[in-house]
């Protein structure tokens, strides 16, 4: 990248900078007129000084240049009186206001856009560099440092870039014009006016340099601060586990203190500069009054000249101040640019072509992988991989064994070309790996480490990530969309960004060996099955929500499954008690009173089950069917029971959270409420108390809580309320609830609940498990298993896959590697975090899968190497021996030792 910000700005926005300078210059005459016209209005039009009325405007508007008269209004006579002349001049003034503001608007917008485009270019460039950093760079540079550099630190540069050339050109020109004018008038006075400028030019940069150094320090410290924050977020669990929050806070406060200190010094220095600047500026008038005044008294100078000089000096002040401000601003921007750019060029960074260029030849790798004298040093220059030479056939399966520090992990990274060797060569099927582009290594080779990363998005997004290299099929756009896309491309070009379309189809179906998206999903599920994750994805699918208007066929099939489940239950009396189905005419004992009343799923927060008692419509329904009194009474009884049961327990007791309807904090309030209320006259309670009591019955689930409060009469009334609720639901609330309908797919419920269409009964042994088995059976019978699993592919995995378990993330990463069908699959203790049964399953599946392909697996336990074609033994960075597992486990003492210790 360019060494200085000016170099960068000049290289990428030369035309815009020149345009801006020209525009600024063009605005200058109008600005001059804008100040000139009011003078004319007062002097000529109002006071009538130097003009006689009526006035010939045609004659007045004639300027004489080099003795030639040029009539600006044409060769006409236009005789007007004083008042019209005033109005004409005022109209001109108004016009000038418009023109000046127009100039300002256009220049500012143009400046802003130029700055933003340059900022976009800079950010893109920096981000692209991060992607090309050699991996060891990230050991020294944390994300906490990288993020603010690309986001906050370069932000002010955008503003500066707009001014980078035009401001000094414009203000400098302005200053020069006034100076020239002054010198023409009286050279002595002019010299006096600028006599202190050299002092400023000498002093200010000197002081500014100090501020710059402080500025650098501040940037570095703030960067460290964000690094600390990032670290805390990542390690917050440890902070809790070891009660180190005070230590961490103190550490943070310490950093803040130092930042404050730097800031303080910056402020002091900065305002010293301002102070000196302004003082020096005021020395000008001082000199005029003292020296000029003396000359006037002595009769060597005319008073008029002195006054003119003072006025001119005042005019000089504005552009001079602008220039000094600009100087400080550019110093600041230069530091920021230097500080950022110096961090983004680590040694060993790969060139942009390495990632951007699509090679012509992407044929599969075949033949041999040869490494010659492959060496990798750690940051203390000790060899981690020490001169390894080997030859591997690309149709065999290899296990690498060795202890933790044997260099086997680093060897897999070198073979996958994720690390560059410090010495030695790697040749992949006849190609020198050092010059192979990432398009070859990243598609023909797959590497999965011990803790692979999963990106936020769906399972499918992650599973098919390894197929997204270039947009392959353009997205379909309507006219408006195509127009927007054209703008996008245009803007991307203007700021040197990548022009690819995010919404195009990026998936390389051919690489996965399929023709279309449907076949790809099948292939993805097959890969998940080999890794043993198919059942989990099926479960995600069951809990998935689909849009029945889009997936009509699936919704219909799920309704068939619903019927199938009912049939099974009808056929087998043992199953009958497991689920209590939703029946519009019957009270559901396994659902809460609130659910029974609403008889539907809340959509959005309006009818949130927790706050049902607060909704005016719900309260109105209760009132209409005469349930208010009863709810109050039941609420009173619930409250009494809760107080009776829980009053003796300490407030932090777990039983509160698990079982109580009332939280420990509320219990004293409720106790007081019960004491002051009269059971026979609950209606007389104040609204707040009533609200508290009313909310309790909604949560009652008769089959679970067994309080005996939901009797037949209450059930009948709730059913009545259910009918009333549905029948009188206002138009604006209609979208807030989706009613249970036996013949309709419920879009707000997940697939499992749609099949179930009811509640799993409380109090039946292993009910949930048995229902799960039953649902699976029904799904299987209808041939829906795969379809449901496909829905599971759209399960959102959360930030960095946080909604998946460690084992699931690892399995997903492995399946991702399989989907792209690599010629060489390189694994490094990939299955170490999985349980042994899963490990064995994956091992078996992969060994079968890669029979005749190349599998290089650095295993965490030596005994795992038994099924491979050949075993490589690594020790202290060297390749100790290679051979079959049977031979090595007989003859190699080191292998025997490792086997014995497992």
């Amino acid at each position: 990248m360019e060494k200085t910000i000016f170099g960068y700005v000049w290289r990428f926005s030369r035309r815009q900078q020149i345009t801006m300078t020209i525009m600024s210059a063009a605005s200058l005459p109008f600005l001059y007129l804008f100040y000139e016209v009011p003078k004319t209005i007062i002097n000529e039009a109002i006071q009538g000084i130097g003009v006689e009325y009526p006035l010939n405007l045609g004659e007045k508007m004639t300027v004489s240049i080099f003795g030639v008269d040029i009539p600006l209004l044409g060769p006409f006579d236009l005789i007007i009186d004083q008042a019209p002349y005033l109005f004409i001049l005022c109209a001109v003034f108004l016009l000038l206001v418009g023109v000046n503001q127009g100039f300002k608007y256009v220049i500012n917008v143009y400046k802003g856009l130029t700055g933003e485009r340059m900022l976009r270019r800079l950010r893109f460039e920096l981000y692209g560099r991060v992607l090309r950093f050699p991996l060891p760079t990230f050991k020294k540079m944390s994300q906490g440092e990288i993020i603010p550099m690309i986001t906050a630190e370069v932000e002010p540069l955008g503003g500066f870039i707009g001014d980078a050339f035009s401001l000094p050109a414009f203000q400098g020109g302005y200053l020069a014009t006034i100076l020239a004018f002054l010198f023409l008038q009286d050279w002595r006075m002019a010299a006096a006016a600028v006599s202190l400028y050299p002092l400023q030019l000498w002093l200010i940069p000197k002081l500014q340099r100090k501020v710059n150094l402080l500025g650098k320090e501040r940037v570095a410290r703030v960067r460290r601060l964000s690094d600390k924050i990032g670290e805390t977020v990542q390690g917050v669990q440890e902070a809790h586990a070891h009660d180190t929050s005070n230590f961490i806070l103190t550490n943070f406060a310490d950093q803040l203190f130092w930042i404050y200190g730097v800031r303080e010094r910056i402020y002091r220095q900065k305002f010293v500069i301002k102070f000196l600047n302004n003082s020096i500026q005021q020395l000008g008038p001082f000199a005029f009054y003292a020296i000029g005044g003396y000359f006037v008294i002595e009769g060597q100078l005319e008073i008029g000249t002195l006054v003119a000089a003072i006025a001119a000096h005042k005019d000089l002040a504005a552009p001079w101040k602008e220039l000094l401000n600009y100087y400080q601003m550019q110093a600041d921007a230069s530091i920021k640019y230097d500080q950022v750019v110096s961090q983004f060029g680590p040694a060993g960074m790969r060139g942009p072509d390495y990632q951007l260029i699509e090679p012509d030849d992407l044929s599969p790798l075949s033949g041999e992988l040869t490494a010659t004298n492959l060496t990798l040093n750690d940051d203390q220059d000790a060899p981690v991989v020490d001169g390894i030479s080997l030859r591997l056939e690309l149709d065999k399966r290899y296990a690498i064994v060795g202890s933790g520090g044997s260099g086997k992990e680093e060897l897999t990274l070198l073979l996958a070309r994720l690390l560059d060797p410090d010495n030695g060569n790697l040749n992949l099927g006849g190609n020198d790996a050092a010059i192979l582009s990432e398009a070859v290594t990243g598609r023909r080779i797959a590497h999965v480490g011990a803790s692979a990363f999963v990106f936020a998005g769906s399972i499918a997004d992650n599973l098919f990530l390894g197929l997204k290299h270039r947009p392959l099929a353009p997205a379909d756009y309507d006219d408006a969309g195509a127009k927007q896309r054209a703008t996008y491309v245009d803007e991307a070009r203007r700021s040197g960004n990548i022009e690819y379309d995010l919404h195009a189809d990026w998936i390389d179906y051919a690489a996965a060996g399929v023709d279309d998206a449907a076949a790809l999903r099948q292939s993805g599920l097959a890969a998940l099955k080999r890794i043993g994750m198919d059942e989990e994805v099926y479960q995600f699918g069951l809990r998935g929500i689909i849009d029945p208007t889009v997936r009509t066929d699936l919704a219909v099939a799920i309704l068939r499954a619903r019927a199938g489940l009912r049939q099974h239950m009808a056929d087998d009396p043992a199953l009958l008690d497991l689920v209590e189905g939703f029946d519009g005419a019957a009270y559901n004992m396994n659902a809460s009173v609130g659910e029974n009343l609403m008889f539907g799923n809340p959509v959005g927060d309006t009818f949130d089950v927790e706050h049902l008692a607060e909704h005016p419509y719900v309260l109105d329904v209760l009132e209409q069917v005469g349930l208010t009194e009863q709810f109050l009474s039941v609420g009173f009884q619930v409250a009494s029971t809760m107080v009776e049961l829980f009053a003796d327990l300490p407030p932090d007791h777990e039983l509160f959270q698990q079982f109580s309807f009332i939280s420990a904090d509320e219990l004293p309030d409720i106790q007081a409420l019960l004491q002051r209320s009269d059971r026979a006259n609950l209606a007389a309670l104040p609204d707040e108390d009533r609200g508290q009591l009313m909310s309790l019955p909604f949560k009652l689930i008769p089959a679970r809580h067994r309080l005996g409060l939901v009797d037949d009469d209450l059930q009948a009334k709730v059913l009545e309320a259910r009918r009333y609720f549905a029948a009188n639901l206002p138009e604006d609330l209609a979208k807030s609830v989706e009613f249970f309908d036996a013949d309709k797919y419920n879009a707000s419920a997940n697939i499992q609940d749609n099949i179930l269409f009811g509640k799993v009964a409380y109090g039946q042994a292993q009910a949930a498990d048995r229902v799960g088995v039953l649902i699976s059976q029904v799904v299987e019978e209808l041939g829906l298993h795969e379809t449901v699993a496909e829905v599971g592919l759209s399960f959102e995995v959360g930030i960095a896959g946080s909604r998946l378990s460690t084992a699931q993330r690892q399995k997903l990463a492995l399946a991702r590697a399989l989907v792209k069908r690599p010629d060489i699959l390189i694994m490094s203790e990939t299955t170490a975090s999985l349980d042994s049964a899963t490990q064995a399953g994956i091992m078996e599946a992969l060994l079968a899968d890669f029979d005749g392909r190349c599998l290089i697996w650095s295993v965490q336990r030596t005994s795992m190497a038994s099924g491979f074609d050949e075993v490589l033994v690594m020790r202290q960075g060297r390749l100790m021996e290679r051979g079959s597992f049977a031979e090595l486990s007989e003859s190699n003492e080191y292998v025997k030792e490792m086997l014995a210790s497992e």
Binding site: A574, D577, T641, E644, L645, F646, D648, L649, H653, E654, L655, Q658, F659, H705, R706, L707, G708, Y762, G763, Q764, A765, Q766
Partner: protein, 158 residues
């Protein structure tokens, strides 16, 4: 059956007989009512114990499997039986398998809950001690009787 009936039932168990009704109510409320079909097992011998069961209604077999794999039904239990408490008190694996021989209605008291209540209410702990001591005494008595019987048999044989 409602909470109050369950409380009455708990009261008829010697272990809980002397505990205040309000505590029993809490125990009943925080316990899970669980029904088993005929042939379903409450737990299996060797499992880790996580709960004790109070039989509310129905019958079940207590089966012990010997080291040779022989299964012996050692007892039949019915209404009011409290089973599975040994495994949760002493942290030993289940000593027997209990299988429902009819539709079986139980109250499941989880280990956590049971211990929490014992911790919370010393009266309950005392009651349990009393009950266990009582059982110990019974066992001793039975052991003495058995020893006596063996001696008699030996004498007869000698």
């Amino acid at each position: 059956m409602s909470l109050n009936e369950e409380v009455e039932l708990l009261r008829s168990i010697p272990l809980f007989a002397n505990i205040e009704p309000s505590k029993l109510k809490l125990l009943a409320f925080t316990s899970e009512r669980l029904a088993f079909q005929e042939g379903q097992s409450l737990f299996h011998q060797g499992d880790i114990g996580d709960a004790a069961y109070l039989v509310v209604d129905g019958t079940a077999d207590v089966v012990i499997e010997g080291p040779d794999g022989n299964k012996i039904t050692v007892a039949q239990i019915g209404r009011n039986a409290f089973v599975g408490e040994i495994a949760i008190l002493c942290d030993v694996p289940r000593t027997a398998t209990i299988t429902a021989t009819s539709k079986l209605d139980t109250l499941r008291v989880s280990k956590d809950l049971f211990f929490r209540l014992v911790n919370e209410f010393p009266t309950m702990a005392v009651e349990i001690m009393r009950e266990l001591a009582h059982r110990q005494e019974q066992s001793n008595l039975q052991l003495t009787q058995a020893n006596q019987r063996i001696r008699e048999l030996e004498n007869r044989a000698g």
